[in-house]
């Protein structure tokens, strides 16, 4: 082989002239080059040079000072999910960096493009347990798609170029670049070239047309085909191609919580939600379809329930960008690797126009049962006690379904996702994979800043709200028009529900004696209202939705209401309970 030089590890596009600047300034200039005009973060010793440089570029980059780094990380996620751009988040070393970890883990499991930049102690101090030193590279490794520690100013352009490319390409995810303080102070000849490929990384697998043919063959011969779609449709911006595909084939389609809003709620082929608190038909009929077509979803256990009782009768087609997802949980018959947009375009060409009226009717029959046993009462309760569902129903009426829904985690999340009507994509922002309480409020802030033209409604529970409510200050400071709906049941509702159903009603540490949330919101200068009875609910929601600016509405809902249907954990999807 001789002396062949190892080829460049990354390829680059575009060139420019060099200029001598500090590492810190390079960081800011790179953010601008990458199209970042908004970043979330929190300053501290080890990242001060970067903040100092941000001061010079305030016109180009707006820095949002969160009130906790976890808040900054979820805000960056909310921003990315609402507008599709990479979310950026800055923090100092040590506690600043460790506070980011929950956000990174959330972004990792929900494939959200986020670039985190952390300051680090000077390189000469690395490993010495210096003040505010933590091994953020080690700690963040399991929860990042990629991370890198920069110890010299000259490394900054390449490291950040790679960071942005990796965060947004292929299956997106969070990346972290840790920059020592001396690298921020040090100088470099600045020349920024965006990264367009990394030789050891395959952005998207090349489409194998023979797999498309095999998939089409199965679909064309199927009697009861069934589609499960996930966030992959949204991430690939394949909403249009997806709709064309289902309309041509007439296949009933159900969504995972991460796929929600990729297809409008009222579409005749949208049969509803999968999973533990999903709809009755979509779960039950999973075990009756003959061909199961999974598109950009990963068969999370919240979706599949007990795998040994999951769709055993079906041939499975899996359209997926990440080879590691194939056969991870459910064995596929045909795996179509690639970007959902490309795969769906090709697949649509080969499938025959069809309709599955009888099969679709089965879903409608299930809907009817679910309506009678669950939905009607949830949306139009006969009891005097307010339900979460009726609040959501009125919000739908008032917004017409074109708002962005951001939820926290718990019963309110399930109810809001089940009953909100969506008319456009990228409208549901929730912590699906990690189930992070405290996600909702900061993510809504990020969403409101990422999609300022849209109405953003954060639906939160009284438990999760108290995990990150300090971000009300950030909402006040940025004037973000976040509407916060607190569904207060004075319980950690979802856990209480499990205690009621599976632990003999032993309510161990789930009841909360809460603070006065009205006073809290007022303390943050946010207009508030509280509803305890039905007669003024509608007017309050009207005001909530139409108010121009942030607003806090608290609704006291049934303390011991439950979310149904439910697939109890350990059960199969067909064992879904309506009561």
């Amino acid at each position: 082989m001789g002396t062949v030089e190892a080829p460049e590890q990354t390829s680059k596009s575009k060139t420019s002239n060099t200029e001598r600047i500090t590492g810190a300034e390079a960081v800011v200039r790179i953010l601008i080059e990458e199209g970042v005009d908004l970043a979330f973060g929190y300053p501290g010793g080890a990242i001060m040079p970067v903040y100092d440089s941000l001061y010079d570029y305030q016109e180009k980059i707006h820095h949002v000072l969160a009130r906790h780094e976890q808040g900054a990380s979820h805000a960056a996620q909310g921003y990315a999910r609402a507008c599709g751009k990479v979310g950026v988040c800055l923090a100092t070393s040590g506690p600043g960096a460790t506070n980011l970890i929950t956000g990174l883990a959330d972004a990792q499991i929900d494939s959200t493009p986020v670039v985190c930049i952390t300051g680090q102690v000077a390189s000469s101090l690395l490993g010495s347990d210096a003040f505010q030193e933590t091994d953020v590279i080690g700690i963040s490794m399991p929860v990042t798609k990629w991370n890198y520690q920069v110890t010299r100013a000259e490394e900054i352009p390449d490291a950040l170029a790679k960071a942005f490319y990796l965060a947004r390409s292929g299956r997106p995810g969070p990346v972290l670049v840790d920059i020592t303080k001396d690298a921020q102070f040090g100088e470099l000849d600045f020349d920024y070239i965006k990264c367009t490929s990394v030789r050891s990384y395959i952005e998207k697998p090349k489409l194998d047309l023979s797999k498309i043919e095999e998939a089409a063959e199965l679909i064309n011969n199927a009697e009861r085909p069934y589609i499960l779609f996930g966030q992959g449709v949204i991430l690939a911006q394949a909403e249009k191609e997806f709709k064309t595909f289902i309309e041509k084939t007439g296949i009933p389609s159900a969504w995972t919580i991460m796929g929600l809003s990729a297809l409008e709620t009222d579409h005749p082929l949208n049969v509803g939600m999968l999973g533990m608190h999903g709809n009755y038909g979509p779960n039950l009929l999973t075990n009756e379809c003959d061909v199961l077509i999974a598109i950009g979803m990963r068969f999370d256990d919240r979706v599949t329930g007990n795998l040994s009782k999951y769709a055993k009768q079906a041939k499975v087609i899996h359209l997926e960008i990440d080879p590691a997802e194939i056969d991870k949980n459910v064995k596929t018959t045909v795996a179509v690797l690639g970007d959902a947009k490309e795969s769906l375009t090709e697949l649509t060409k080969l499938v025959k126009p069809n309709s599955h009226e009888e099969w679709l009717q089965r879903f409608r029959d299930c809907d009817k049962q679910e309506w009678e046993k669950v939905i009607d009462e949830e949306l139009h309760p006969k009891s005097e006690i307010l339900s979460m569902g009726e609040v959501i129903r009125i919000i739908n009426d008032k917004t017409g379904g074109d708002h962005i829904l951001v939820t926290d985690v718990g019963q309110h999340q399930m109810v809001a996702c089940r009953y909100t009507k969506f008319t456009q994509s990228k409208s549901n922002i929730t912590s699906g994979g990690l189930g992070t309480m405290g996600f909702g409020l900061p993510a809504a802030l990020g969403a409101a800043l990422g999609a300022p033209e849209r109405t953003v409604i954060a639906v939160v529970g009284d438990g999760g709200f108290q995990m990150t409510l300090q971000e009300l200050a950030t909402i006040y400071q940025t004037k973000a028009k976040v509407k916060v709906l607190l569904l207060n049941n004075e319980f950690l509702g979802m856990v209480r529900q499990w205690q009621q159903l599976f632990f003999d009603k032993r309510y161990s540490s789930t009841e909360m004696i809460n603070p006065d949330f009205q006073t809290i919101a007022k303390g943050f200068y946010i207009p508030t209202n509280k509803v305890t009875e039905r007669y003024n609910l509608e007017a309050a929601i009207e005001e909530f939705v139409n108010h121009d600016g942030a607003y806090f509405l608290e609704v006291m809902v049934g303390k011991e209401n439950n979310v149904f249907p439910m697939v109890p954990s350990g059960s199969g999807v067909a064992e879904i309970r309506l009561e």
Partner: protein
């Protein structure tokens, strides 16, 4: 599915921290790594991981895909026992004065296809390459002479295929140039 011995091979960039990223995949699933070796590969600048595990094939397949998914990994694959030529190296240090019957030790060393790496005034070091069971057999025989130190390297292995993964790495690098 039954557990069996597998050798996982990964061709990678030489990147600080990649070792940690790869071991995390095993830790997450609580899989015990029997041995792990990294070294240069046949291609300049490309490193090679060799990981020995005893697991079910289904799990090994999943793990290999997750290894290959790491940004700095070029290619990963796995082999069953019969599909590789493998080797381990063991070193045995004995006190020179405990070899009361030098001839006897020499016979053992010869019979096991081992050799004296060094003979000093205070101690001798014996080296043996082979399967674990072979290095273990020598260990058992030398035990009577009081082994002061013993160490065995991780497994290294090359595939019995004509080209193996290296060929695919070659192709990947040609495409990306």
């Amino acid at each position: 599915m039954d557990k069996q011995e597998f050798t996982i091979t990964a061709y990678t960039e030489n990147h600080v921290g990649l070792l940690h990223r790869i071991t995390i995949i095993f830790t997450k699933r609580k899989i015990n790594i029997e041995s792990l070796t990294t070294s240069e590969s046949e291609r300049e600048g490309i490193h090679r991981f060799t990981i020995a595990v005893t697991e079910t094939e289904e799990l090994v397949q999943k793990v290999v895909k997750q290894i290959e998914k790491q940004v700095e990994v070029l290619k990963a694959g796995y082999y069953k026992k019969k599909e590789v030529v493998q080797q381990e190296l063991a070193l045995y240090k004995l006190r020179t004065d405990s070899l009361t019957n030098g001839l006897e030790v020499e016979r053992i060393v010869r019979e096991h296809g081992a050799r004296f790496l060094t003979i000093e005034k205070e101690f001798v070091v014996i080296e043996k390459a082979g399967f674990k069971r072979e290095t273990k057999a020598l260990f058992d025989e030398l035990k009577q002479y009081d082994i002061v130190e013993f160490v065995r390297s991780g497994r290294i292995a090359v595939s019995r295929e004509q080209y193996g993964l290296g060929k695919q790495v070659e192709e990947l690098l040609t495409v990306s140039q």
